[in-house]
């Protein structure tokens, strides 16, 4: 695949992730959509590194590490919310508002 095609694919995946966050109500799915976004970014980095140098591939590792840390904390938070509301659907816990 050409890098431009990869870039295009990454953009599509990013948009899919974004739409997922907007339309899905399940916190875990939303979180996975965010992971999708991050992976789109990774893809873009790798593709771009074909043009501009090796650093891009290096950045991917940083992003993956951070994503892993984020996943750890994020899942913990989702568990915490499940304890309180017995649900991970965002409609069920929108008490902080207006």
């Amino acid at each position: 695949m050409l890098p431009t095609q990869v870039l295009f694919l990454s953009a599509v995946i990013f948009v899919v992730g974004t739409l997922g966050v907007i339309v899905r109500r399940n916190a875990i799915i939303m979180f996975l959509c965010i992971e999708l976004q991050l992976n789109a970014v990774n893809m873009a980095f790798v593709a771009l590194s074909r043009y501009v140098g090796i650093e891009g591939q290096l950045f991917v590792f940083f992003v993956m590490t951070v994503a892993a840390a984020e996943a750890a904390v994020g899942l913990a938070i989702i568990i915490s919310i499940f304890r309180h509301y017995e649900s991970v659907i965002t409609d069920d816990f929108s008490f902080l508002r207006w």
Binding site: L7, F14, G17, T18, V21, A27, M30, F31, I34, Q37, L38, A40, V41, A44, F45, L48, Y51, V52, G53, E55, G56, F59, F62, V63, V66, A69, E70, V73, G74, A76, I77, I78, S80, I81, R83, H84, Y85, F93, S94, F95, L96, R97
Partner: protein
């Protein structure tokens, strides 16, 4: 001095390294004790973390001789970074002080609380000093992830969990956007290093769509963190649900850290392509100032009120990023310093009135505070006036500098909007002051039971220091301004 020598990296990141060491030490200490029922563990842990902050401060002061000599790496040791370290350390020290009695009372005196607070500060300090977008990202994430956890740290609070989840989901979402921006900038300029980006954008004519899109996505990531309309929507909810000291920490440290970096990136290194983001920032600043102040008018929860107030302040500060001349930059630094002090002082008062808990957070709960606790009420009034920009408080000087800077670059409309929105903001700041001084406490059975407020030493310290600093900064600002002028990036 150069970064060829590995030791210099340790030197450059000295304050961060010290804080990290202390944070890990606190975690280990907690593991070794496993006795969480100890009543005064909070005080002990608080003292240790405070010692860490002070040690970091000492190292920070010791870095001044090296400032500007370590400049070729991805970590800047310039006076700007050192100044932002001061503000962040001050903010976190105050957050720690107001946390101590809170965590004891709320039984969340876990070592993780203080460790995470320190880690968040480390992340922010890393971010403000970094000269590489990847490092900015890492610093930002260290801080954000710590604060996601902190917002949820009270296991028994459903609101805290909700706030934490919202912050986490939206924060991670914005991180995605931020990162995509970094990727696009990297792709179009060939590097994520700010200096190289600056060099690549000198010739502004051949700026491609890719670069501009990247810059805008980067800006949106920052706008999310500092709370700029319309990327601000998480702020009130998260502020409301989080434990009070953490709300205070978020409202000052995250905002200050993000703005220091925001300015460094956009005001200095992306200055060449201001034509691409200038108009957008102009509108964002305008909408943020006016919108946030208007919505704040109808808020009754003080934490939400402060959230919108903080958003409005982001709008004012956005002007300095836009009009990036020396006056603006001094304005930014001065304003952030003063805002940090005033806001933390306010939260110290809030923690007191809420009696180290999460009830009594409505504006009406402040009725009669002036006669019950006149000194606290007086201090809070001064902080509110400072936020509103009343003369003879530090906030006034900050606003004057921002206004002056805006007019120097001919942003007359923004200047007028700033003054008008300040006018609106007085309404809700004074409303709170009005409840404190001019209303008697309603004699409902609920409030009658409200226990006599007993002021812990740490809170007294925060209130007194903040009060003195705010008034001093308002009456004798020239020293601080002089110091700030030596810390500017645009020198």
């Amino acid at each position: 001095m150069s970064f060829l020598n590995q030791w210099n990296y340790f030197l450059a990141l000295g304050p961060q390294a010290i804080l990290t060491t202390f944070a890990i030490g606190i975690l280990l200490f907690g593991v070794s004790r496993n006795n969480t029922s100890d009543e005064h563990q909070g005080w002990l842990l608080g003292r240790i973390s405070l010692a860490g902050v002070i040690a970091a401060g000492i190292v920070n002061a010791g870095l001044y001789p090296f400032a500007d000599r370590l400049s070729d790496g991805i970590v800047a040791v310039d006076r700007y970074a050192l100044f932002s370290n001061w503000v962040l350390l001050l903010g976190s020290a105050m957050a720690i002080l107001i946390s101590i009695s809170y965590v004891e009372k709320q039984r969340i005196q876990v070592p993780e609380y203080f460790a995470l607070l320190l880690f968040a500060t480390v992340g922010l300090m890393l971010m403000t000093a970094s000269l590489d977008l990847m490092l900015v990202f890492i610093g930002l994430e260290i801080a954000s992830i710590s604060v996601y956890a902190l917002a949820t740290i009270d296991q028994r609070s459903p609101k805290g969990s909700e706030a934490g989840l919202k912050y986490f989901l939206l924060g991670a979402f914005s991180t995605g956007i931020f990162l995509y921006g970094v990727a696009l900038i990297y792709g179009s300029t060939g590097s994520a290093n700010l200096t190289e980006i600056l060099n690549a954008t000198v010739d502004a004519d051949d700026t491609g769509v890719m670069l501009i899109t990247g810059v805008i996505m980067l800006a949106v990531g920052f706008c999310f963190k500092v709370g700029v309309v319309p990327f601000h929507m998480w702020t009130p909810d998260v502020y409301q649900g989080s434990p009070m000291p953490i709300t205070g920490y978020m409202s000052v440290a995250i905002k200050a850290g993000a703005f220091f970096t925001f300015y460094r990136i956009f005001g200095i290194y992306l200055d060449n392509i201001q034509f691409s983001w200038g108009t957008v920032f102009w509108w964002l600043a305008l909408v943020t100032m006016i919108g946030a102040n208007l919505v704040a008018l109808v808020q009754n929860n003080i934490k939400r009120l402060l959230a919108y107030s903080g958003i409005a302040h982001s709008g004012y500060l956005l002007i300095t990023v836009l009009a990036n001349n020396t006056t603006s930059e001094s304005g930014l630094l001065y304003y952030l310093a003063v805002y940090t002090v005033a806001n933390m002082g306010l939260f110290a008062g809030f923690v007191l009135v809420a009696n180290h808990a999460e009830h009594r957070v409505e504006v009406s709960d402040y009725a009669g505070l002036g006669s019950k606790q006149p000194f606290i009420a007086m201090a809070l009034t001064v902080f509110l006036l400072s936020l509103g920009g009343f003369p003879a408080t530090g906030g006034f000087i900050g606003k004057i500098l921002i206004l002056r800077g805006a007019l120097e670059d001919n942003y007359l409309l923004l200047a007028i909007a700033l003054v008008i929105s300040t006018l609106i903001s007085y309404w809700y700041y004074l409303r709170l002051a009005w409840f404190m001084w001019m209303k008697e406490q309603a004699a409902t059975p609920n409030t009658e039971k409200a226990p006599e407020i007993e002021i812990p030493l740490a809170l007294k310290l925060v209130l007194a220091v903040s009060l003195v600093l705010i008034v001093y900064a308002g009456i004798f600002p020239s020293q601080l301004i002089g110091f700030i002028e030596t810390s500017l990036l645009k020198g």
